[in-house]
């Protein structure tokens, strides 16, 4: 009986514990199949997180340096495979800036329409996936149904569902297919309905809001310091959108607003994306109403391929075709930095040409790269469960981050 106090003491003794290091990904559904997170846990709290990337590295830059300027285009599809058109057009605009080229008005409008369709695609995927990974499967299905409609329109426009390779240096490789505009307008109506469904399921959903509000927080100075752009930066309350600050194509002729958040948390990032979906709808409708007639590609056979009847019937046509296919567009030696606003932020291109038919250097500033670099800051000291919505709302795309 004299041992009783000791047993009592042992029962009350503090359990020995130690920090646990776990691997999340790369084959984990919430890591989108490409990122490995090395997480040190104390209980359920993340002490340290170290994202390891590169599982999807394909040597994008090295490949581009060894093909012609036009042949890089299919590689750019694979950067952000959810919104390939924006990569295509961003890259082409950078090459055009390097040449010093102005593209036809109609091509600019079609580039805006294509980009905004794919911006919707990207935001729908992101919003739907957040719903899915927080347990709301139906929201995901509505979002994917809307995305499928957009993908069908893109398929009709470009001939491919994902890897569009649309556009050429100097404009576009083909005009809109007949009847496409009407289909797009009908699609927009349907997408608006589906978007309302998604919003109805998520925005005021208690469980969803509790998981999203106040998690994945980043302060504005930190966001700027890391180089956040796009919806992730705007959710912090910074009104910064390249479409407004440095208008390219015809964005200065279109009337739209840039939604800005307040708190820099997951919920604000979600709201900014939902609001941007509505703005995309507005932009596309205006661009369609203002769409001018005319050519979609410049008439300069040193840069753009000649029409097929000229290739078959004239010697000049054959020669230009041959030169362009075999040697590529002759871009003058020099360098340029050009950027466009992609779905997740600033998509920048720093191109160097040595005057040969192929790029000397293709630097791509993928919007997801700096955002992913900031993820440890957003989740360290927070619960493990907050990692999933945080990783979703930043909408990191493996293809562009890992090149």
């Amino acid at each position: 009986m004299e041992n009783a106090p000791d047993i009592e003491g042992e029962l009350e003794a503090h359990l020995q514990s130690k920090n646990l290091v776990i691997n999340m990904g790369p084959s984990h559904p919430a890591m989108h199949g490409t990122v490995r997170m090395k997480i040190e846990l104390e209980g359920e709290t993340i002490v340290r997180a170290d994202p390891e990337i590169g599982f999807l590295h394909r040597g994008f830059q090295k490949s581009c340096e060894n093909v012609t300027w036009a042949q890089c285009l299919p590689y750019t599809d694979r950067l952000n495979y959810v919104s390939a058109l924006m990569n295509n057009f961003g890259y082409l605009s950078a090459v055009e800036a390097l040449i010093g080229l102005e593209i036809p008005e109609r091509a600019k409008f079609i580039r805006v329409i294509g980009s905004e369709l794919h911006r919707m695609n990207d935001h729908l995927t992101c919003v739907g996936a957040v719903g899915l990974e927080l347990g709301g499967f139906s929201a995901f299905l509505y979002a994917i149904e809307a995305r499928e409609l957009i993908t069908d329109r893109v398929n009709e426009l470009t001939g491919a569902r994902l890897t569009t390779s649309f556009g050429r240096v100097g404009g576009l490789n083909r005009d809109l297919p007949p009847g496409w505009i009407d289909k797009v307008l009908k699609t927009l109506d349907k997408v608006a309905e589906l978007r309302a469904e998604v919003e109805g399921l998520l925005t005021r959903n208690r469980i969803f809001v509790d998981r999203m509000r106040g998690t994945g927080l980043i302060t504005t100075p930190d966001a700027l310091d890391y180089g956040f752009t796009g919806p992730c930066l705007r959710a912090c309350g910074v009104n910064y959108d390249i479409r407004k600050q440095h208008p390219y194509w015809v964005y200065d002729q279109l009337d739209f607003e840039v939604p800005v958040g307040q708190n820099g948390d997951n919920f604000d990032r979600y709201l900014v994306r939902v609001e941007e979906l509505k703005q995309c709808d507005r932009i596309i409708r205006q661009a369609i109403a203002k769409l001018p007639a005319g050519p979609v590609i410049i008439d300069d056979w040193r840069i753009a391929l000649p029409p097929k009847q000229d290739v078959y019937n004239t010697i000049e046509g054959v020669m230009s075709h041959f030169k362009l296919i075999m040697e590529g567009v002759q871009v003058p030696a020099g360098e340029v930095y050009h950027c466009t606003e992609a779905a997740n932020g600033e998509l920048g291109w720093y191109l160097v040409s040595s005057g040969a038919g192929h790029p000397y250097k293709v630097h791509v500033r993928a919007p997801g790269f700096p955002i992913l670099a900031g993820v440890p800051r957003m989740i360290e000291g927070k619960m493990l469960a907050d990692l999933v919505p945080t990783f979703d709302t930043i909408n990191m795309i493996g293809g562009e981050v890992e090149q």
Binding site: D225, G374, E402
Partner: protein, 180 residues
């Protein structure tokens, strides 16, 4: 573009630029002396008149195949200012001395966003950043030898961690690491 910022820096610091020139789009670049780099970027970030707070990106160029291959590397810095609505384009030239790893001061203490880009440049060009907190490879694996975006690294210089079967590529010949 960026003229105001470059002028302000020239006045504020003594001779930070080796050269200033215009690129194809008419934007102005400042070539910074490596020793003045940290001073320049600190001024950019902290000077209230400049306020370049939004870190853009970094990359390097290997000039080996250009008409003027010396100095061999150029590291490019793109930083944004939201109040000035401007991008500043900076560049530092780094020579590769015989048997030495090219080196630059790290700007990660100033901009956290530079952390991953400096790792990227180390990984792909082999430029070491002095004072970087954690200079590891970022996309390639630790066992990888060499720096793949250098112009003297072969296009098909594969380094598989597991032995590859000698499957022939019908266009470019055998494509295994043992052949390259």
């Amino acid at each position: 573009m960026s003229k105001v910022a470059l002028d302000t820096l020239s006045v504020k610091l003594s001779q930070p630029f080796v050269e200033r020139y215009f690129d194809r789009s008419g934007a102005e670049w400042g070539v910074v002396h490596p020793n003045a780099l940290v001073e320049v970027v600190s001024a950019l970030k902290h000077d209230p008149g400049l306020d370049f707070k939004l870190f853009g990106s970094m990359d390097a160029v290997d000039r080996l195949m250009l008409p003027e291959p010396h100095p061999r590397f150029e590291v490019v810095y793109l930083i944004r200012s939201i109040p000035l609505n401007d991008v500043i384009r900076l560049k530092v030239r780094v020579a590769e001395l015989q048997g030495e790893v090219p080196e630059l001061p790290s700007i990660t203490p100033v901009y956290q966003g530079a952390n991953w880009w400096e790792r990227f440049i180390w990984d792909f060009y082999g430029i070491r950043f002095r004072g970087h907190p954690d200079l590891r490879r970022i996309l390639m694996y630790e066992e990888f030898k060499g720096h793949p975006l250098r112009k003297d690294y072969p296009l098909r210089g594969r380094q598989g961690l597991l032995p590859e079967r000698p499957i022939k590529d019908i266009y470019r010949g055998p494509g295994t690491s043992s052949v390259v």
